[in-house]
Amino acid sequence: MGERSAENTVDDAAKGMWIDGARSVSPILIGVAPFGLIFGVTAANSDVPTLAAWASSFIVFAGAAQLSIIEVLGTGGAAIVAIFTAIVINSRHLMYSADMGRYTSGLPMWRKVAMAYLLTDQAYLISTHRFRDPRASASFSSFYFGAALSLWITWQITTTAGFLLGASVPESWSLEFAIPLTFLALLIVAVKDKPGLVAAATGGIVALLAVGLPYHLGLMAGALAGVAAGVASERWTT
C-alpha cells in the first residue's frame, strides 16, 4: 500500500467518527430540545430585549448561563450580577478545557478554536467518556465535532422555535416558573457527594437570607459562600 491510500483510509475513518459522534449524542439531543424550547419561550416572555436574548444562543452558547442572564436581568438585577453569575456558572468549562487539552495538543489552531467554541457539558462528557486514551486523539477530534455540532444545531433550532412560540403563550400559564424548575433540576443532578450537598445548602441558605440585598447581590454572596463551604467540607472529611 502506498502513502496515498493510507491517507484515504485515515480520512474515511475520520468521516466515520463524525457520524459516530453525531449518532452517539442523539439520545442526549432529546433531553436538550425541551431545555432549548423552554429557554426560548421564557426569554421571549421576559423583560430582556428579545433580539439580545435570542443572540445569546450563539454568542454565549451555554444554556444554564443564558437562562441565568434572563433570570437576573428580567427580575431587576444589576448587569454586574448577571455577568458574574453567568461567568461563575460557565467556569466549569475551565475543567473541561484542561481535560480536553490532553487530546488536542497536536491539532491546528482553527480546530482548537472551533472545539472551544462548541464546548458543552454534553459534548465533553460523551467524547472523553469514549476516549480515555489520549493516543486516540485523531479519531477523538472527529467524534467530538460530530457530537458538538449536533448539539449546537439542536440548540439553535429549539431556542429559535421557543422564541417564535413564546409570544403566543398567555401570562396566566406562569411559565416563568420553568426557570427555577430548570435550575432546581440541574442542582439535583449536580449534587453528587457530601461536600457538594454542603455547598448547595450553604449557597441556597445564604442567598435566601441575603434576598433583600439590591440587584440580586444575594446571589453572588450565596455562590461565593457555597464554594467556600464545599472546599472546607472536602478538607475536613478527607
Binding site: 468549562h93 478545557s97 484542561a98 472551544a116 416558573f177 432546581l184 454572596a221
Partner: protein, 102 residues
C-alpha cells in the same frame, strides 16, 4: 443595550474559559486550588438561584406560596428521572393544579 453588553461580555469570557487550557496545554496546567473550587461551583450557584426564586419570589420570603409544593414535586421528578424535562412537566402541572384548586 444593557442586555447586549452583558451577553457580549459573558460570550467573550465563556469562550476564553473554554479555550485557555485547550490552547495552552503542555505549557500551563490548571492550578490545584482552582480545580478544587470548581467542583463546588455548580451546586453553589444553582442553589443560590433556585432557592430564593422558589421561597422568596419577587424578593419577599413566602413559604406558603403555590411555588413551594410545585417545586417539591418538580424536584422529586428530577431526582427520580435525572431529567430537566420531567422536572418542568411535573412542576408546572403541580403549579397549575394548585392554582386551579385555590
Amino acid at each position: 443595550m444593557t442586555a447586549w453588553v452583558v451577553i457580549i461580555i459573558v460570550g467573550i469570557a465563556t469562550f476564553a474559559m473554554r479555550f485557555v487550557f485547550i490552547a495552552l496545554f503542555g505549557k500551563v496546567g490548571i492550578p490545584g486550588w482552582l480545580e478544587t473550587s470548581l467542583r463546588y461551583v455548580a451546586p453553589s450557584v444553582l442553589a443560590a438561584i433556585a432557592v430564593p426564586a422558589v421561597l422568596a419570589p419577587g424578593g419577599v420570603v413566602n413559604l406558603w406560596s403555590p411555588l413551594v409544593p410545585a417545586a417539591i414535586i418538580g424536584g422529586l421528578a428530577a431526582w427520580m428521572t435525572k431529567s430537566i424535562g420531567a422536572a418542568i412537566l411535573f412542576g408546572m402541572a403541580a403549579l397549575w393544579l394548585i392554582q386551579w384548586i385555590g
